[in-house]
Symmetry: C2
């Protein structure tokens, strides 16, 4: 549920208004499919106990369509030669209202709903008696679970020109709906339109953005309205006017599309559909669709300034961060303890809470790692290759920052500090979204870090995104954000990949394998396996599957290992061969990450079978072979196509700090850009810099190519 | 239009069958929204001149719902205590048919369509007289543009148990629809269902794939059917049986979802919606959804074998390709001339045709560049970094192939050869889709190249995708394909990015800038500008915008330059300042790629303003500064954030061959992975190889980290 839409929980009585553009098609006929779909949604709400009041337009249009046909049938050939006069609007209304209600009744009957018709004029509302009685009638109908259907009684209305007159109590069905919402004490008014909601500009302009929450102070006057709807009286200006007036009087309003299936239900569930008008909106909204872009733009501007300052100045920021972390330790502790207490109350599991805790020892270690990153060789502007293309024409490939990164990370506040440090070291702007359980810790850490960023760079270099609802807005900004790194479940990564054009550096499951070859040193195998599984079972680089050579499987060694793992509290599951040999339960699938004290064991024929098994069932993270035979080991190292492949070493070494990268923003199982633990290098790109002296191509006869490699370095 | 659906062009008479699951909702009530939407589509087809016949189910379900209500109303409290007996099916049919037709008539009336009801039993069809007369009646109705609505006359049918008996002429509405399609000589039968079509397995199984074209020889027996629909008699087995029988008798059948808005129109437009049954299908289908995966899997398997052979063997393949290209020159010429002739006939423009032509000189140059690529240093398995993590624990970062690439390229057959050579050199499998204008040339080149790939690798290393329709299937295979490189318009790149989870290496517009500083050497400026614009105006690295320092703009130099560009046939457009100074038309937007003999000129205050202009309006491709002042040039080189940034050299140098990369698969304006011209290096990733001797992590107390850099190389 969107935080600004929480109020829908208490909504019971809802006025829906469907405009002419919703009810009719472009050819003037009734849009029977759309109307049917809307009615099915209203029926669902009705059966859930909501009280539904409907205001419908469309009678005049439907009547005109019918009368045109009638006139044609009544016409002689001579009649048709004459200039055709427009059919009287009131006649259209009279005919159309009838047809509209006949269809509505027929549709609602199929849904076992008894509908009722209430035709009113603005004059009626001048009478207090009328108002009281109307309320009573509607209450009676609602008590019988009937749906009252309102329309202006156009056929007998004495208003001069219903299309222009805006002097009455109501002047179109939008304002009628707003008036009824107040009169009948509705909890919500939903205006269904042919557009998604209110846009910052005309909906046809690709730069227009849908406004999810209307804030008078911000939007009044700042919005360019498009042309009014092709049909009907209202248009968006009228809708906004009606919506603002209803919202000011206390009835929240949502303008949403009547064209999108299921929209109505979503509005009532509090999803961020259409545009909300609420008298308290200005107080809630700290972030919205405008803010997303502002945040990203600010991070980009600051990153450009960060790149312009000297390497020494950049290092100083990092050293200042390390100092500030230690100085503000007590402040951080208070906020962190609050998060931990809340997580304990919520009954989160041990592993989440252990990641959440930011002990003084952890803070010291963090400060130390920030200082290590500060001491690293300057990564920006490093010349990767240098080539003489032709005499005097020198091409360099140099490193440069990516720009702006969006990193979504789990409830692990130390990650915030590491990621921020790597971003500053690599000259990038950063937008961070941490797990909600660490909200208070993340906020104080963010404050401590941005507090030491000098004004010459700007504290908006690092933005903290505080709600999950903001992510979709950020994912749209492929022109400002250069890379998204989601740390979390395979599903999160997959969802983000499907919903953005921004490149995603992802980490899928960590189904790490250890293969014990027939040539393995048994004692070493035991040590590595125990470490790979038990050093930190919840880590993505922990062993999940143990493959054992068939010769080894019949020795006592395997039995000893099984016993040792069991003593370590590890639950064992087997593939078909291992489960029958070891009498352990058989796994459903080999592609499974336990993330706990459990693992799968299977017996394989040889190293080739082990490689095949891993390629088929693995997730491309980290695999290890334990073998004394070098040729076997090299076969494994060459043929495994994972981010990391180890010989006689624990899978737990796959980590940015352990690899000597200082820290990591994550471990990538993507093959593109960066793979394995991603430190500073993965946050850089390169640009080609060519220096000449008037060199031209001229059909490749302008220069004589030499293509001489001048220097080559890579740290 | 899908190539297997071309026949729809000649379709006039269509039988539509809507099943119970389409017409009713899960609560038994009629799905008024869905039915309305379907009827609106039928109305649209009717008004386009199609002859529509409808077969509807749903009467029994709707009747049961009504009778339940009636029974409830008639019940005493005592009645309700008794066990409830199931309501008689025939009674339900009698009541339901009435209600169904009342709704249908009401909906069709709104759409100005006169519907008609025809209730038949299987017995009726035994009479030839009946059949003749039925045809005549239907023809009369269709001639009046009425829509005949058929159903089995369940209420009076004497069939024992309509739900099980399959001995009659028809046994459910699917077979009734198939029978009517034949009897009434329909051109197409559309069975609307609650699933998308026929799947290779149960639709709930995520591994099931939608079958777009049913091929009896391939699919019969190979498909696992899911459970039958929740309601109605048919289920998918019955639908397929009916569809196969109708298709065999000559009426094509499409099974499609009645739940998806607009599906019906799309089927009639020949889009690949649902599953097609056609008696000639086996002859047309050379590629389908199974083939996409097979192709990609085969390319992956071959690439793994390619990686296993020696560097020398890989080089030999490339040298053999070069030889084969020269040997088969005449063969290639014939096919290429056919493509060029067709392109000329189709009236394509000069630049397309010049790219299409593969002259003997171009073939020689291609063979030469393939040999250059063969001679390059082995790129696979190169050690990028080598670090001692701890005593005896050595970490290497080594290069390795990405896996399988999908490259979509323009009608430029030399690109096929270059891309294939780079893929082989870098150990990757390849799927190629070239522009349709070069189809015959691409096919012969593909044959020549795969002809020399040894059996130990397999010719399926390089797959040639021949139709655009196959791309969506390939873009789904993010588990097999590692990188997509679309060469073409910004729109193509953007569309592909939105529709796949596979990483995309894209090349957006090439809006390249040349900035002439006040310190420029005027003669050099003129040479570089003329070369940048005119060496090949259609290239992406051609200059599109010329920025001129304000001091230079008042000198004669600018006027001379304008004259020279005009003599070169270049049409000039100006920004606000230049257009008034030079009396040339003002541009609408600076973000414009002419790709022809035209460019934009604007006057800027200084190098800083030039950088700002480029960052705001450029596309991040290639920018050049012409200046003698080194500090100004360095400011430009540092602050421009484009893939390539040049000092005193033509923008046309931005090219894989000119940069010394041998060739290029494209120029990337992405920042992720590879940037600028992409040769072999951009087709590689790295993996981390760690060699130890039993090293374990043990809470980071298992080893003493040294993190010593051992060797570093990058070519």
């Amino acid at each position: 549920m969107d935080p600004t839409r929480v109020f829908v929980k208490n909504v019971k009585r809802v006025v829906f208004k469907v405009g002419t553009a919703v009810v009719t098609r472009s050819d003037g006929r009734l849009a029977v499919g759309r109307v049917g779909a809307i009615f099915e949604q209203l029926e669902a709400l009705n059966s859930q106990g909501y009280e539904i009041i409907l205001v419908t337009s469309g009678a005049v249009g439907a009547g005109r369509q019918r009368l045109k046909y009638r006139k044609l049938l009544n016409s002689s050939f001579a009649d048709l030669q004459k200039p055709q006069v427009e059919i009287d609007g009131k006649a259209c209304a009279a005919v159309g209202q009838n047809g509209l209600m006949a269809l509505y009744d027929s549709l609602f009957s199929q849904l076992d709903i008894t509908s009722s018709q209430l035709l009113v004029t603005d004059n009626d509302f001048k009478s207090t008696d009328f108002r009281t009685q109307l309320s009573q009638t509607v209450n009676s109908l609602l008590a019988l679970r009937s749906i009252p259907i309102f329309n202006e009684n156009d056929a007998i209305s004495t208003r001069r020109a219903p299309y222009e007159d805006s002097t009455g109590i109501f002047w179109d069905n939008d304002s009628l709906a707003a008036l009824l919402a107040l009169e009948l004490k509705a909890d919500l008014l939903v205006l269904l339109s042919d557009v998604e909601g209110l846009y910052s500009g005309p909906p046809t302009d690709p730069n227009s953005k849908l406004i999810h929450t209307y804030i008078k102070q911000k939007h009044l006057g700042a919005i360019t309205f498009g042309d009014k709807s092709r049909v009907g009286r209202g248009g968006m200006t009228a809708k906004v006017k009606a919506a603002v007036s209803a919202a000011d009087s206390g009835t929240p309003v949502v303008i949403a599309s009547g064209f999108v299936a299921g929209n109505i239900g979503k509005v009532l569930e509090g999803q961020r559909i259409g545009t909300l008008f609420h008298k308290d909106a200005h107080a809630w909204v700290t972030f919205n669709e405008f803010t997303a872009r502002e945040m990203a733009d600010a991070a980009r501007d600051c990153s450009m300034r960060l790149q312009s300052i000297s390497s020494k100045e950049r290092n100083k920021i990092l050293l200042d961060i390390a100092d500030a972390l230690e100085e503000k330790q007590d402040l951080i502790k208070v906020e962190n303890e609050a998060d931990v207490a809340a997580a304990n109350d919520a009954g989160y599991d041990e592993s989440l809470i252990s990641r959440l805790v930011l002990s003084p020892a952890k803070i010291s270690a963090l400060a130390k790692s920030v200082r290590t990153i500060a001491e690293m060789e300057e990564p920006i502007g490093r010349v990767v290759t240098k080539t003489e293309l032709a005499d005097g024409l020198i091409l360099e490939k140099t490193t440069c920052p990516l720009g702006v990164l969006l990193i979504i990370f789990e409830s692990r506040p130390d990650a915030l500090v590491q990621i921020a440090s790597l971003a500053i070291r690599s000259g990038n702007g950063l937008l961070l979204k941490g797990g909600k359980e660490a909200r208070r810790t993340n906020e104080i850490l963010h404050k401590v870090i941005t507090g030491v960023i000098p004004e010459t760079v700007g504290e908006k270099l690092i933005g903290l995104v505080t709600s999950k609802e903001e992510i979709p807005d950020l994912l749209k900004l492929d022109d400002v954000i250069d890379l998204v790194i989601p740390r979390g479940s395979n599903r999160l990564v997959s969802e983000i990949k499907s919903s953005t054009k921004i490149p995603v550096l992802g980490h899928s499951d960590g189904i790490c394998h250890v293969y014990v070859d027939t040539s393995a040193n048994m004692q070493m195998a035991r040590n590595i396996i125990m470490d790979s599984k038990l050093d930190y079972p919840a880590a993505c680089n922990a062993m999940e599957t143990l493959l054992v050579h068939k010769d080894f499987s019949s020795s006592e060694g395997l039995q000893d290992l099984v016993v040792e793992l069991s003593h370590g509290g590890v639950t064992l599951h087997g593939g078909p061969r291992a489960s029958s040999r070891l009498k352990i339960p058989e796994v459903q699938t080999f592609h499974h990450e336990y993330n706990s004290r459990a693992c799968t064991i299977e017996i394989v024929d040889d190293v080739k079978a082990a490689v095949d098994h891993i390629r088929k069932h693995g997730s491309g993270h980290t695999e290890c072979i334990i073998a004394e035979d070098k040729r076997t080991a090299e076969y494994f190292l060459q043929h495994i196509d994972s981010a990391a492949v180890f010989h006689n070493a624990s899978t737990r070494f796959c980590d940015g700090m352990r690899f000597g990268l200082g820290a990591e923003v994550g471990i990538s199982t993507s093959k593109i850009h960066a793979r394995g633990p991603v430190g500073v290098e993965g946050l850089l790109t390169t640009k080609w810099v060519l220096r000449g002296n008037g060199h031209i191509v001229k059909g490749d006869e302008g220069v004589i190519y030499t293509h001489k490699n001048i220097v080559s370095s890579e740290s």
